[in-house]
């Protein structure tokens, strides 16, 4: 070993492992080793994956990297990618997922679509058959690149090991910058095996055809500030852009200076503490009364890092027509996509918000804010009181969440699945800090919560993670209890069992004359099932012991499954019926 080599080795002590570099120029590395070196260089600590034929060389290399990269063996690739999403959402880092070719890769598709629509940064690495077999219908060969093109921010196939460092540095850069999203890299088996002269890993910081941040135009900041300063009834809508842009502080300073009431989309939830006096609640179909009605009364609507999803806007031609719209977004394609902006503020909200805050006048909109509170009071009287504090009858989902708030004090990460329990949890869960709400918003992926909770826990080991799941969604990915068992992870599973596919049943009741078509779903004995996986648990249908059962769950040393039998035919209200304007929101 010569001196140059020793120097390099000591410099890159953590980055270069096995085999040791062979010369001053770098060293011989296999494609597989280069993949793992890239992960280490990018600061990856956890990988969620599942091995298979076409990714075996990478798994073989992983055997030697076990002390630097924690690999979590999931039970299904969909579980792997949802775990990657949960990890990314709770940690703010890029989630990394490994899967093999063919079915391994196609099992990622739901998670990719979910991450795409919810802007979650992921790098997925799939094995692929040998390059010379591409297009021959080889065993476990599938055209992963073309299958995943519509659901990835970027994807790329690698057939030559020498390309791996460069392609992976691009992948991580693209996944985390700008509007984040999932990236998939498909690596043929020959490239994984191939040795090449590794010249070190250079982090990507520029791609000429990719501009992650649009340039901020001052005149728009000025126009936006002027509109806000003139406004009598300004109203802020915020989405996940605040969290992705790590601009929670900047956002809080902005609304506090302007005295602006702010409502959230479900992905924006937890960007602002839920008990902040200017946090007026949730937008959209099952959102709060005030924010929906007053959307059609405000004079200036300030949308920040949100994309005017149809579940938020209801009927578009009756949406905030009276208001001037200011839209802050990092993605130029979002401006004017659904709602025409009067003032588009392109850019990273971490930068645009402080600029805006500087230009707006310090104000209080007391009367206007009071109006939200009046609507809140009506909502409490007609919906919330009964949901959170029922005196008799079946347990409601709302009271479970309410008791959970009392016990966690809003410090837990709440991961939700999709359906009624999701809406109830988002409506009533209390959050003190950002990156605490993990849910499948845009795609509405049932089965998301359990694996996402596993990932969320790995992304924030010091925090309590509670997965709130319906009886339908839990049965879609319950095999991931095996992952919990093997990793001895501490995840709380709270099943709200109404013995129905509740949201679909609610719609069938309200809009299909109670024709309950295939929503009557049976459940296994979840407590027994959990027990089989070595997870403690209990089932509760008695209100008097609900709180102590939740306490037991939270205090249990390790994972715990608590099933709560809730009202069979309870509905989530308020509700903006499909095709109606947000101001036509129903309280019952």
């Amino acid at each position: 070993m010569n001196t140059v080599n020793t120097e390099i080795e000591s410099k890159n002590k953590t980055a270069i492992l096995n085999p040791p570099l062979q010369g001053g120029q770098g060293g011989e590395l296999s494609g597989s080793q280069a993949v793992l070196e890239a992960c280490i260089a990018e600061g990856v600590d956890t990988i969620f994956g599942y091995p298979g034929g076409a990714i075996m060389p990478i798994y073989d290399a992983l055997y030697d990297y076990n002390d630097q990269l924690k690999h979590i063996l999931v039970r299904h690739e969909q579980g792997g990618i949802h775990a990657g999403q949960g990890y990314a959402r709770s940690s703010g880092k890029v989630g990394v997922v490994f899967a093999t070719s063919g079915p391994g890769a196609t099992n990622l598709v739901t998670g990719l679509a979910d991450a795409m629509i919810d802007s979650t940064p992921l790098v997925c690495i799939t094995g692929q058959v040998f390059a010379h077999l591409l297009g021959t219908d080889a065993f476990q060969e599938t055209d992963v690149i073309n299958i995943t093109t519509p659901v990835t921010k970027w994807n790329c196939q690698v057939t030559d090991a020498a390309e791996i460092p460069h392609v992976l540095s691009k992948a991580f850069y693209i996944a985390r910058t700008g509007r984040p999203g999932p990236v998939l890299i498909d690596i043929t088996k020959n490239a994984q095996i191939q040795k090449f002269n590794y010249e070190g890993y250079i982090k990507c910081d520029h791609i000429r055809s990719y501009r992650p941040k649009p340039i901020i135009r001052k005149e728009y900041i000025e126009q936006a500030a002027a509109l806000i300063n003139q406004a009598k009834k300004p109203f802020v809508l915020f989405g996940q852009g605040i969290i992705l842009g790590k601009a929670e502080k900047e956002f809080k300073a902005f609304i506090e200076k302007g005295g602006l009431p702010a409502a959230w989309t479900i992905l924006g939830l937890s960007a602002l503490p839920t008990d902040h006096p200017q946090n007026v609640g949730m937008l959209g179909m099952h959102g709060n009364y005030g924010p929906n009605v007053l959307t059609n009364e405000c004079d200036v609507l300030i949308a920040i890092g949100m994309r005017f999803d149809d579940r938020v806007t209801g009927r578009l031609d009756k949406y905030a027509k009276q208001a001037k719209i200011i839209h802050l977004d990092i993605d130029p394609a979002e401006i004017d996509k659904n709602v025409k902006a009067d003032v588009p503020v392109w850019g990273d909200c971490k930068e645009t918000l402080p600029m805006l805050t500087q230009l707006i006048e310090a104000k209080q909109h007391t009367a206007w804010l009071a109006k939200f509170n009046e609507y809140t009071q009506q909502e409490i009287d007609i919906v919330i009181q009964e949901e959170l504090h029922p005196k008799e009858g079946e347990i409601t989902m709302g009271e479970v969440i309410h008791l959970l708030n009392e016990l966690t004090n809003g410090d837990a990460i709440i991961v939700t699945d999709v359906g009624q329990h999701q809406m109830v949890a988002c409506r009533y869960a209390k959050f003190n800090q950002s990156k605490s709400n993990v849910t499948s918003g845009g795609l509405g992926t049932m089965g998301f919560a359990l694996p996402a909770a596993i990932g969320a826990k790995f992304g924030a080991m010091d925090r309590t993670v509670v997965a709130v799941i319906g009886d339908g969604g839990f049965q879609m990915t319950l095999q991931e209890m095996g992952t919990i068992m093997q990793t001895e992870l501490n995840v709380k599973i709270l099943i709200l069992n109404n013995r129905f596919l509740g949201m679909v049943r609610q719609w069938q009741q309200l809009f299909n004359d109670k024709r309950y078509s295939f929503v009557d779903i049976q459940s296994p004995d979840y407590v027994q099932l959990a027990k089989a996986y070595g997870i403690a648990g209990q089932s509760v249908d008695d209100r008097t012991i609900l709180k102590s059962a939740l306490k037991t769950m939270l205090e249990h040393n390790g994972s715990y499954l608590l099933e709560v039998m809730v009202g069979k035919e309870n509905n989530v209200f308020p509700m903006v019926p499909q095709g109606c304007s947000v101001s036509e929101i129903r309280l019952k």
């Binding site: 519509p150 921010k153 055809s209 130029p332």
Partner: protein, 195 residues
Amino acid sequence: MKAEYTITVYTENQVGLLNRIAIIFSRRKINIESLNVSPSEAEGIHRFTVVINETEEVVRKLCRQIEKQIEVLKAYFNTNEEIIWQEMALYKVSTDEVAEKLKVERLLREYGARAVVIRKDYTIFETTGHREETDRLVEVLAPYGLIEFVRSARVAIIKASKGFHEKLKEFEAVEPAEELIENEFLDKADQVFTM
């Protein structure tokens, strides 16, 4: 109101990009009338020319979705008034037929056609022009037994464009220069749509 729009996209040369761009249209059930991929004036940069029939609003949104793709540098859209365009067509006819019944010379003169190949058994003509022009020759040749006809995609030059060389330099800079800030919301007067 729907109209014919020509979308010009400058891109990197990357496998799979054609699919990425094509699915932006197919996802929205928009039919591509014509699609051409070629090198551009800038080295290493490819140029897609896509013709569709849509409203300006839809075309504007499509262009934003196209520009969102990592390997796309720029997407412009233009009405027919704003571009110079050509399509090329090839016609194969029996040499006997045209020689006997139709004066080849007359064809060449009247339709600006060119004989590419003249063989004993067949002759191949070529014309370039707008669709109406290339279509006209099809009509004329039809009675004489048109054996084969094929027309290329549209290629178009944007009248107001100054080419892509300068723009490319701006893209290559790590930090984009101030002057390249463009905005379609204010700069409506600009004949060329840019984002």
